[in-house]
Subunit: 472 residues, 2 copies
């Protein structure tokens, strides 16, 4: 019997700001290589006989990027479930279990974050095999990573009596400890880092949820019963789901159930929860530096450079993180990078910079996307990129006129009653108020430079007349 | 009798990279406020009765920016002298003396760098008065700044016997010392930092140059005799000037002459020679930080942020310099920022980054300038800004077509035989090979977004048919 992988991909953390922002958070970013962390997670389970096609849990805002990233790496999804509200992991996992149970209540579910680094070596498969055996016997299994130091950034699990297959009962869960407590646990032994992964039988999880957290169970099950399936997306019912309290599965179920178990996992794992963990999980050069993107390093040590913007020139420093995007550069003490929250809050709290905390210069859309490249007082310049075969909505603007210059590919442009084809080096003018649409009828990416002019240039000055992605 | 200020503004240092680059070096940059260091220097002398209008010594590449910056602050220049080749300060100052001597061989000349910070308080004027008195008596006067610590970044002057007016003979010049030597000089007393400023009588300087460095004196005097005056510029003769050896005035004259004197100057002075000196010369906040441009600082200390590009978010660091421009971000140890040379050399040595060492994204031209805002494979986007009344050359390109979209102001556009006027939100297409010209007939700045398309987009694909600035 195959295990159903359930990937949690709804988070919008800013601990890796300025790269991770709410409009394109960490799990979708490709800063570690050619694939995103979500894609790495999908590929970890796809094509392995132990697993069936994955279910993704995410939300409305990320539905297109989830679909696109699955398609990019050729992974078929069993379903993409969209949470209508953030209610933390307890209702989310209950809803997932209810969905899986609709087809097979005895199915084993492996719940996993979408933004951690894990190597799927023998140790990984040994842990999965052991956890699956225990789950089949009715345990709710967590995965405990063997600590390699007194880390204060993770929760811990103390193991208790063995239940066979190398799996033990959970003696207790320990919140992120202080340094002394972490050291004591390490010295004492029998403690593991809580990896945030779970493996259990759908029916067992649902029974425990009903017994230990009935309000959550009722809300989640109702949200599934009334869910609407639209294109490839399963939308949980908003009213039903919203009735659940917001609570983590650890608090609501795992700390209360008598069936909690821990499968020790001698795996290479990182939660990649701060720039310091990224650095630690990376291959560094002889000076202890890790750099990606354009950079020059002169006599720096134990530092991290990630650039998706300007060329970063680093000299003479030690223990420094530099993360450059087109609009923001973070420079911090690498070993204290878990403190970034207060910095991001300052940026959010300031009217002039608030947008920068949550929104990138490049926005992705189901048809492609656009980058803001210049903002003037009464004009803006954007670079639009439209996927082959895709079209934007039929739309108009009250307050702005637009010039489009095609710089790559072929555009089909509708302006009021006229439809024209433009190729590289041709342009068109869209007067204020004109109904217009941009489409890419070709086989290669269409790139257009858009110059907007007008007294008001906000993204909300858009009246959609027709949209094939069902947006208003 | 008024002192003739002679401002040396030909340097192209990269010690303040990435802000200072050969195409717009430090003295022309406005990173300390609304005025550049050259403008600060001009304003220091202009409008003060002690000085006549300044002479600027610079070179061909910087002639328009010198003129523009003088005009911006309303300073009349006596002359802008252009060196045809870099030959260091000995021939440059000899040529200056020869130019001044043409009108008045007894004139006093105050030679000063264009990129230092000096406060013109009472101490400054006391030093000038004393130096002028000594110079009038035939001394070649240097200015010695009282050291406030054992600085190893400056040359030192040891003072000898008094010549009256608080001025002393120079006992000897000391090259940039090591730390121990610097400390010993400080303990011993009678040593001053060599400020790089000089005050002397034209005839005295010329006589000493002829006596001590006849090859230099002959070359410099010949270059002045054969100089060509063009518009507001005095171009020294290239062949004559080029015959001089390249040598500093310290080596060639001041260390040899018996007439060298030092006027002690208790002035607030910095050579602003590295990011560390910029920080030191700035007003810092309670945590010792100095920041200009968009930034957020959270728990950083004794650090410097200068941004003309992205928002810089600094957290938890100490003794760090961050200098951000649109294409490059420097992050270095502030207290070791004088080591930047090796870093810039690495960047210069690498084919992919060499341009970044010498050239900014924004280029200034006598008619205005342009910023590169996006570079694609077969296209480029630039923002052109044209001053009121200015016009670009009449030109054509073999390999590229251009779209111009006016986003601010009014443009007069010539394409082959046609001349049209465009206002905000109108555009024009310039086909490959078409003879064209852009002009601003209006009273406000003209801004144009230019989209270039073609297989070759280098700046050298430009055939100038007519140019009012005399460029080819």
């Amino acid at each position: 019997m195959k295990i159903v992988p359930a990937i949690l991909a709804g988070g919008s953390g800013t601990r890796l700001w300025p790269l991770s922002r709410a409009d394109r958070p960490k799990q979708f970013q490709k800063f570690m290589g050619d694939t995103s962390l979500l894609q790495d997670t999908m590929l970890r389970v796809a094509g392995n006989d132990a697993y069936s096609d994955p279910i993704i849990l995410s939300n409305e805002a990320y539905r297109f990027v989830v679909a696109e990233q699955a398609q990019e790496v050729g992974v078929d999804l069993r379903a993409t479930v969209l949470e209508p509200a953030m209610r933390n992991t307890a209702p989310a996992m209950t809803a997932l279990a209810a969905i899986v149970a609709q087809e097979d209540s005895d199915a084993l579910i492996h719940v996993m974050p979408s933004d951690h680094a894990i190597e799927t070596d023998d140790a990984y498969w040994n842990a999965i095999t052991a956890a699956a055996a225990a789950a089949a016997k009715g345990m709710l299994v967590t995965f405990g990573v063997s600590p390699d130091g007194p880390n204060t950034g993770y929760g811990y699990i103390q193991s208790g009596d063995s239940v066979g297959d190398g799996v033990s009962k959970v003696a207790r869960f320990v919140e992120k400890p202080d340094a002394a407590t972490a050291q004591r646990m390490l010295d004492e032994g029998g403690y593991f880092w809580n990896s945030g992964m779970f493996l259990f039988k759908a029916s067992v999880f649902l029974a425990e949820a009903e017994a230990l957290a009935p309000t959550i169970a009722d809300a989640a099950k109702a949200s599934v019963a009334q869910a609407v399936v639209d294109l490839d997306f399963t939308r949980l019912d908003e009213a039903a789901y919203g009735a659940s309290p917001e609570i983590s599965v650890d608090y609501a179920i795992f700390e209360k159930t008598a069936q909690a178990a821990v499968a020790p996992a001698e795996i290479k794992w990182s939660d990649l929860g701060a720039w310091g963990s990224i650095w630690k999980a990376s291959e560094r050069d002889a000076d202890g530096n890790k750099a990606s993107g354009p950079h020059t390093i002169d006599r720096a040590k134990n530092s991290l450079v990630v650039s998706e913007g300007a060329h970063v020139a680093l000299q003479g420093v030690e223990d420094i993180a530099v993360v450059a995007t087109p609009d923001a550069v973070y420079v911090g003490k690498l070993s204290e990078s878990e403190n970034i929250k207060s910095l991001v809050q300052s940026i959010k709290a300031n009217e002039d910079t608030a947008t920068m905390a949550t929104t990138h210069r490049t926005s992705y859309r189901p048809w492609g996307g656009y980058s803001q490249i210049l903002n003037g007082a009464r004009f803006q310049v954007k670079r639009l990129f439209v996927k082959p075969g895709a079209k934007l909505s039929l739309q108009k603007h009250h307050h702005r006129a637009e010039h489009w210059v095609v710089v790559s590919g072929t555009a089909e442009v509708t302006v009021n009653e006229d439809i024209t084809m433009l190729t590289e080096n041709q342009s068109v003018y869209i007067p204020q108020g004109a109904v217009h649409r941009l489409a890419n009828p070709g086989k290669i990416l269409l790139e257009v430079i858009e110059v907007q002019s007008g007294a008001y240039l906000g993204e909300d000055d858009i009246i959609r007349i027709e949209d094939e992605f069902g947006r208003n």
